[in-house]
Structure formats: C-alpha cells, structure tokens
C-alpha cells in the first residue's frame, strides 16, 4: 500500500541540541496512530517539520499520491495540501463565535480577494452545522469561543480541523485537561475521523492511548524507539527503561 506521508532520515538541530535524529516514520491514508514518548523526545518538533514551521537540516518529507516534497512549502500551502494541525494548548479564535471559527476553517478558496468577496451560502452553513454536530457543539454555534469550557475548546479546534477536510490530522494532546467523559467523546470523534483519513495523536496519557486502540509509535531522543500495538511496545524493555519506568517512578 502506498503511504500518505513518508518521513525519512530527517534530522534537525537547535543550538547544538539534536531534537530530531534520523527520524523515519510513515503513515497510511486511513489510519489512527498514537505517538508517545518522554518530554523532549521530539514529538512536537516532528509536527513542526511536517506542517512547515521548522525546516529540517536533512532528510525528506514526501506527501500524497503525487509524491511531492513538503520541504520548502509554506505552512499555508501545506495546510491546503490537506494536513491539519491541532495545537497542544487549545488554540481557537476566542473573540469570535463558534460559527465564525468553523467558517474560517471550512475548506474553501483562501486567497484574500476571494475571501473579501465571500458570501455566506446555505451549503457552507450546512457544512458548518454538520461539523458542529460531529463535535457536539450544535447548540453553541452563536457563542463566543472564549466562553467555552476547556474541553469544548479542544473539540472546537478538532472541529476546525475536520472542517478543513484534511487527509492527515496531527493532533497534539487532545485529552489534556479533560474529564473522563470528555475523553471518551474525544476518542469517539478521533476514531470516527480516522475511518476516512490518517489521524496522528500525540499523547502522554497511556489510558487515553489504550482507549484509542491503535498502532503506537514510541519516540525517544528524536527517533523511533519502537512501533506496534500498545501491548507490544509497553513490553519492550528499552521503552520501559526510558519512558514508562520514568513515568512510574
């Protein structure tokens, strides 16, 4: 099966610190993947590289059916290629309503002049409502995003990703600061999304990862330490030593 995203041999150094070290990792067109690893393992830097925020010193990042390189593309071009990203801290436009947040994210032409002349349509409104339904915010469309609870903001941001209709969703710690019920719902949203696209979840919380029930990649010191089912990687002695042991200590 051809891969959706192929990252190979990527390294990046910040002030002498090697954040990513010869990292190679692939994602299939429709899969749910969890990335775990201790702090400083390079999880967020990996996302920065894929989304165009950080340029790697070496290596290749190949995307999609046309096998194009993402290196050298701007963040907006990469987003338009179909890669959506959710930040660790919920990052929504707090001064604007839920509807406005989703409307901005909705997959549509992004040029300034097209946007300037943009008219609201019934079709777009229906698309917004469909996404709101998925994330359970149908009743909150007219609310200002800043008033939402922490969990709702996380969902809104996931909803903004869904509205972008990406082929790859990079989701950084979606369950942080959520109640158990909220986590359950988040798991459902992500699992549902992964049916038609690749969803990559970076998470610290092992319980949450277990609930995702998917292939797990363990990062350590900027490269892949182990990969496989959660049970497989958690029984790996090196993983226990560098990550789980520390977490349990």
């Amino acid at each position: 099966m051809s891969m959706l995203l192929e990252v190979s041999g990527v390294s990046v150094t910040f002030d002498g610190f090697r954040a990513i070290n010869n990292l190679s990792i692939n994602f299939a067109p429709a899969e749910l993947r969890a990335i775990i690893g201790p702090n400083g393992a390079g999880k967020t830097t990996f996302m920065d590289i894929v989304t165009g925020k950080t340029k790697p010193d070496e290596g290749t990042v190949i995307w999609g059916d046309r096998n194009i390189s993402l290196l050298g593309m701007s963040e907006s071009q990469i987003a338009m290629e179909g890669i959506g990203r959710k930040f660790q801290k919920p990052t929504v436009f707090e001064a604007q309503t839920v509807r406005q947040n989703l409307a901005m994210a909705l997959k549509n032409p992004r040029g300034p002049f097209v946007v300037l002349m943009h008219k609201k349509t019934k079709l777009n409104a229906a698309r917004i409502e469909a996404v709101a339904e998925q994330i359970g915010l149908s009743d909150s469309l007219t609310r200002v995003a800043g008033e939402l609870s922490h969990g709702q903001k996380q969902w809104l941001e996931i909803g903004m990703l869904l509205a972008q209709e990406p082929r790859l969703m990079l989701v950084d710690e979606p369950a942080a600061g959520m109640t158990p019920e909220e986590r359950e719902k988040t798991t459902d949203i992500l699992k549902e999304a992964a049916k038609t696209r690749a969803v990559v979840v970076v998470e610290h919380d092992m319980e949450f990862v277990r609930r995702l029930d998917c292939k797990v990649t363990v990062l350590h010191e900027g490269s892949v330490l182990a990969e496989g089912s959660l049970d497989h990687v958690t029984s790996n002695q090196t993983v226990i030593d560098v990550y789980l042991g520390r977490a349990h200590a």
Binding site: T51, E75, S76, A95, Q100, M104, R110, K120, A125, Q164
Partner: protein, 388 residues
C-alpha cells in the same frame, strides 16, 4: 440567516447619520450661508479633524483589527499631502508667473516660463531646476493618481519585505518607525526636491479660483472631507465585518493558527497594510489644502505615535472608536495648545498648558491603557448593556 450588511453593522447607520447631521449643521452655521456663527478658520479645523478621523480609522484597521502596530501611517498621510501639494503649488505659481510675464512687451518662451516657475518654487532652497519627481506636477489628474499610487506602492514594497521575513510585534513597529524617520529626514534635505524644511505652502489657494472666498473653499473641503470619512467608514466596515474581518482578527489573535488553517497570512497583512496606506494618503490629500502648508515635521515619527494614541484612547478594534478618539484628542489638544485652557497658578509654579498638555496626554494614554483598555468606545458597551 443571510442578514444584510447594514443590519449586521448598526454602527454604520449611526455614524453616517451623525456625520451627515453634523455636516449640514456646520454648513448652515458657516459664513457661506450667511449665518456666520462658525468662523472660517474653525471650519478648517473641523474639516481637518474629519481627515484625522479617517486616518485614525485606517490605523484602527491595521492595528486594532489586524494587530500590526504601524508607526508609518501618518507618513502615508503626509505623502498624500505632498502629492496634492505639488500640483497646488505648481499650478498656482504658473498662473502668477504667466500673469506677471504677460505685461512684458516680448512674449515669453515656454522655457522662460518654466524657469520662472522653478525660481519661484525652489528659490528658497537655492535652486530653480525642476527635480524629476515634479514631472507630473502640472497635471491635476496625474498628481491625484500619485496620492493613491505613491503611498500604495511604498506600503506594498515595504510590507512585502517586512511581512515575508516574518517580522512581527514590536520589531515591526520599529521597522515602520524607521521607514517614517528615513522619509522625514530625506524630506528635510534641501535637495530632496520638495523644498526641504520649508515644505510646500500656500496650499489653501486653489489655482484658478482666486476670486472664490476662503469661506467657500473651506466649506467645500469640509464637505469633501465628510464624504471621504463617510465613504471610508462604510468601506472599512465592509472589510472588517465579513469573512475577511474574521481572518484579519484571527491574524491579530493567533497568527500561527491562521497559517495552519491554510491562509497565507503575509498576503492578508499586505492587503490590509496597502489598502489602509492608500486611504491614509487620500485623507492627507484632503487635510493639507485645509492646513495650507505641509513640511517634513508633519511626517516625523511622533505624528504616527499620536495616531496610535488617538486610536487607543478612542478604543481599538471598533471603527467609530478610532474616529471619536481622533476627533476628541485632536480638538482637545488644539484647545490646550492654542491657549484655550486657562493656566493654573499654584503659587510657586504656574502650569502652562502649552507645555504641560503633552504630559497630560501621556498620563491619559497610560490611564486608558491600564484602566479602560476599550477606550472611549467602551462607554457605548456600557450604554448598550444598561438598555438591555
């Protein structure tokens, strides 16, 4: 759910209504109508204030909505003034020169006339040659085009360089201030081609309309300024209220998020920066014929800082706030500095407002920033809440 533009923006109707009423009342009370309660010089002050409101609105769009604290928008304002000033000065001098040469027995050649005009205009800086930038000064149409093109192209070029290298926040402010300072210093030079620190003068005299009294000229410019302000208000309200507004407010609040949504932030900033610069230039082109004189001091960085202060005091992120701030602070400022405010004798020291006004303004700015971050415009929120 598709609501009309005006229904979504009630402030536009209010603003236009108040502006129209104000314009009509002032016109009736002016010397033109025969009532003459308001002096011609005060009409000019009011007309100039309307232009300042317009440039403040551009500042609010670029800073209050898009988050770019530009310290260059008064420079664009000044460029607009210089562009129209060049035509006003050239055309008027030409008329005077032709008239005086007509008395001579031998008709003058075109070269002689041109030399005489050059002498008249550039004599103060010891020159009589027309610099290259005066090439189009004899054409009102082309100079009006300059009012739009020069600020627009400067903003486009400068913004392109600044935004593409991802300069943001205070560094961008410093960069825009450097641009403003460089422009002012250049204009101060005698060989800048724009008469150095003398600037352009006599701009209140409209060429070919010498017989029209200043009272009439002033009311025409006053009304033109009011129309420009009203049109500018509607134009920017339209920009900031639609999806474009959502994106630029998004850039202000979280630029990275907007990038990752797939919007090319740089192009949006460039659009906002350039469009506001052009409107600032138009405001300047209406202001300086009413002021009568423009010199490089007008463009100095401090003017752009005042602009930011007006917007902050009036209330960032709402267009009427910027207009109120500009009108209020500039009128109060001319009251204080023009000797309108009585000096306060403390016995051991006399507070002279011409000196102390800036201190008062500075404190007001600090107080507004700390205690009323929404500025004067925030009062409207309180009123609305009481009603509901």
């Amino acid at each position: 759910m598709q609501r009309s533009f005006l229904a979504q923006n009630p402030s536009v109707i209010w603003f236009i209504a108040i502006l129209a009423l104000f314009t009509v009342v002032v016109t009736i009370l002016s010397e033109v109508s025969g009532v003459g309660v308001i002096s011609t010089s005060f009409i000019k002050t009011l007309g100039k204030t309307l232009c300042l409101c317009l440039v403040a609105i551009t500042m609010d769009v670029v800073w209050g909505y898009c988050g770019i604290l530009s310290l260059g928008h008064f420079a664009f304002f000044g460029i607009g003034g210089y562009a129209i000033g060049m035509w006003l000065m050239y055309a008027r001098t030409e008329l005077i020169v032709i008239e005086s040469l007509a008395a001579q027995a031998i008709p003058s050649t075109a070269a002689e006339i041109s030399d005489a005009i050059g002498n008249q205009i550039f004599g103060v800086v010891g020159s009589s040659e027309f610099p290259l930038i005066w090439t189009f000064a004899d054409s009102l149409f082309l100079q009006l085009l300059m009012v739009i093109l020069v600020p627009g192209l400067l903003a486009l070029a400068f913004g392109w360089l600044a935004f593409r290298s991802r300069v943001t926040g205070v560094y961008l402010s410093i960069l825009t201030q450097a641009m403003t300072l460089a422009l002012a210093l250049y204009l101060f030079q005698n060989d800048s081609g724009l008469r150095g620190n003398n600037g352009l003068s006599g701009l209140q005299n409209i060429p070919g309309y010498r017989d029209v009294p200043q009272a009439t000229v002033s009311i025409i410019f006053f009304i033109a300024s009011a129309i420009a302000l009203g049109a500018g208000y509607v134009f920017f309200a339209w920009i900031v209220s639609g999806k474009m507004g959502n994106v630029i407010k998004g850039i202000r609040d979280n630029e990275a998020r907007v990038w990752f949504l797939g919007y090319h932030v740089e192009r949006y900033k460039l659009f906002v920066f350039t469009v506001t610069a052009v409107v600032a230039g138009i405001a300047g082109a209406l202001y300086y014929p009413q002021a009568g004189i423009i010199n490089p001091g007008e463009i100095a960085p401090i003017a752009s800082i005042y602009l930011a202060v007006w917007v902050a005091i009036g209330g960032r992120g709402r267009l009427y706030g910027a207009a109120i701030g500009a009108a209020f602070v500039s009128l109060v400022s001319s009251w204080f500095t023009g000797g309108g405010a009585p000096n306060i004798n403390l016995g051991f020291y006399t507070i002279q407002w011409t000196d102390w006004w800036l201190v008062l303004l500075g404190f007001s700015f600090v107080a507004v920033t700390l205690f009323f971050p929404k500025g004067i415009g925030g009062l409207f929120d309180l009123l609305m809440r009481k009603q509901s």
